[in-house]
Symmetry: C2
Subunit: 358 residues, 2 copies
DNA sequence: ATTCAATACTGAAACGTTTTTGTATTGCAG
DNA sequence: CTGCAATACAAAAACGTTTCAGTATTGAAT
């Protein structure tokens, strides 16, 4: 805590004016040449070289603020996200960020923590900072934002925004078909939190898939996530509660991998083996899914692809390009250890009352 | 419904000039009042109220770019991070971000992917964007940056930067002491990747702790992480290799939770049980550590605290405050299921040659 | 000798603020 | 009635660019 050192070597960046003085040319000329605008065609090559050389020599970097203020592009976008977290959000954010940076864009991240007032405030503040557009992740937007916007996993069709969505019908079908093929008939479900962007859509898709597969969804086998955490704990209490009610199911389809991992633990704590007693299917395929014990069968969302597409569409829109309403990406079933053939029906349907039949 | 609205985002924000025209006052007066500068004392209350009311009415928001350009504070910092990822990095980044946003600062995230050229380039680009300082996470900085900088888990003492570091000596001691108390003597170690900021410091601390506990570190029980991934896979191949060489150890101290989780799987795939055959200790206490099966004993780094402190110190430095060289935070041992008493020595020391002694 | 067009630039406005300095008006003392 | 301080504001510069509208110079054509 002792010594406050004098600021280390903080010389002022060289500006257009410095170059102007050095070269004996106006800032206008230098600017046009460095930006290679059409007008630069009128400047002879020799002068252009002189300018380039000087810019190089003094390591000239245009001040982005001034440039943006003047009305040119700010090359900045705002990313709205509930939290920077593990799992889903982080992976999408990473992909978005990588894409944007690769295209020379920088981004602000604003974490609204699902607070409506922040969700109102941040877009305004970002706009004050001249972002050119928004990418919104896992957030139920109420009204359209005042700039080009791409929403990842949003399902409201708001005017002017582009949605990047998973093909949930296909996802649900893949998962349920897999379970049905393994002989599962009594399947428990963990629904997403009410505020999670995918919850409703995903559930509707599951209902449709179940019907098309001739599968009955039992009311008493449905639980819903409640707490807002990025720990697998999110899935633990709800599955414990489910298990207090009944053991009469042979498979569990979780809302996401996080809750599936919590479920794994809850099942184990109740003395059930996965997959021998209960098969578990997750959703997302986060990095650690493959490394659970047992490793998790799951529906993979191509999160990196979704992030990259979101970035791509946004930049395209910013440049005045097309404005698709929705872009759908395909999920993939990844079969691992947590699913196996259903245990025989007799045993399955009677676990609680069958003590004497053992 | 005659909606001939010209796209919702065509709405130009109202500026000082608009207010000026509306109020019949100069922008100078309005600015001083809205910013409540000392000079505003000379403006009568009635005028001030008029101004405030108008600003409210038109929802005036000062343009941050213009303000920053004029020389005031940009209220922006740059965060340098190898990748936005799961685990360590994400948790620290989240904490940093929350702190900064809570103080009215926005931040750019730049992911340098450990490429030297990006690590050179991004600070410059961020500076062009008038960030007021840098927060650097898990990155070995080569030279000091030209602005106030706080490094989380950096260990070079570069001029002018503040390091936030874990007390690695205490961490190593906690882990090894725990294992020694459980009777472990032959302990394997997974060292961090050469480029990971903590690798070297952590290892030195482990050596010191081992010595102070009278523990011998066996060369042949040391492996080092190599690949750069945020999947637990990072730990898998190295532990498989270790197990090809020898089974002659009863505990494993991993570089981080991610590699510990990979190790769990590797051990299992080699037919070893955790913790009965081998105890495993991780590092970091990421969210999923508690939900592994077996749940992971680990050294918790107070990542949220480290992130918040980093933000706090940086803002303090930006405001010209003290410039501490280093701030140390304390780890914590979290005992879970993956550690247990060592299996008896005889068995342990002779696994390979003892086939006939069985 | 004037006009014209091309060449190679320059001047200045503009972006939206903040801030320093200046000034018109008023009230009041002398 | 003059002078002076206080009051309440305004003018303008500045931040670092970009860009539009000029303009000085040259050479050639009329």
């Amino acid at each position: 805590m002792r010594k406050s050192k004098p600021a280390p070597h903080t010389h002022k960046p060289v500006g257009l004016k410095d170059l102007s003085r050095y070269l004996g040319l106006s800032t206008a000329t230098i600017s046009t040449v460095l930006n290679a605008t059409p007008a630069a065609a009128e400047i002879p090559a020799s002068t252009q070289e002189r300018i380039l050389a000087a810019a190089e020599k003094f390591n000239y970097r245009p001040n982005t603020l001034a440039r943006s203020l003047r009305g040119m592009r700010s090359h900045t976008v705002g990313v709205l996200v509930p939290e920077i977290s593990e799992g889903y959000g982080a992976l999408v954010l990473a992909a978005v960020g990588d894409y944007l940076l690769s295209k020379g864009y920088f981004f602000f991240v604003a974490t609204h923590r699902r607070k409506p007032e922040l969700l109102d405030e941040y877009p305004q503040m970002l706009r004050q900072r001249s972002v050119e557009g928004f990418i919104v992740i896992d957030t139920a937007l109420e009204k359209p934002l005042p700039l080009p916007t791409v929403v990842i996993s949003g399902h409201r069709n708001l005017e002017g925004i582009t949605n990047i969505v998973l093909n949930h019908d296909r996802a649900a079908h893949l998962a349920l078909e897999h379970l049905v093929q393994l002989g599962h008939e009594r399947i428990a479900f963990i629904q997403g939190q009410p505020y999670s962007a995918d919850s409703e859509t995903r559930w509707k898709a599951i209902e449709r898939a179940a019907e098309s597969l001739g599968l009955d969804i039992q009311e008493e086998l449905i639980v819903q996530l409640e707490i807002d955490t990025f720990s697998p704990y999110v899935g633990y209490p709800v599955v414990r509660r489910l298990l207090q009610r009944t053991h009469d199911f042979t498979a569990l389809f979780a809302y996401n991998d996080l809750s599936a991992i919590g479920a794994l633990r809850a099942l184990r704590d109740s003395g059930l083996r996965v997959p021998e007693d209960v098969s578990v299917v997750g959703f997302d395929d986060i990095n650690s899914a493959a490394f659970q014990i047992p490793s998790l069968t799951t529906i993979r969302q191509p999160l990196d692809k979704m992030g990259a597409i979101a970035g791509e569409i946004l930049l395209q829109r910013i440049q005045g390009g097309a404005n698709p309403v929705e872009i759908m990406v395909d999920p993939e079933l990844v079969i691992r250890e947590s699913t196996a053939p259903a245990r025989p029906r007799v045993e399955a349907g009677t676990k609680l009352e069958s003590v004497e039949s053992a």
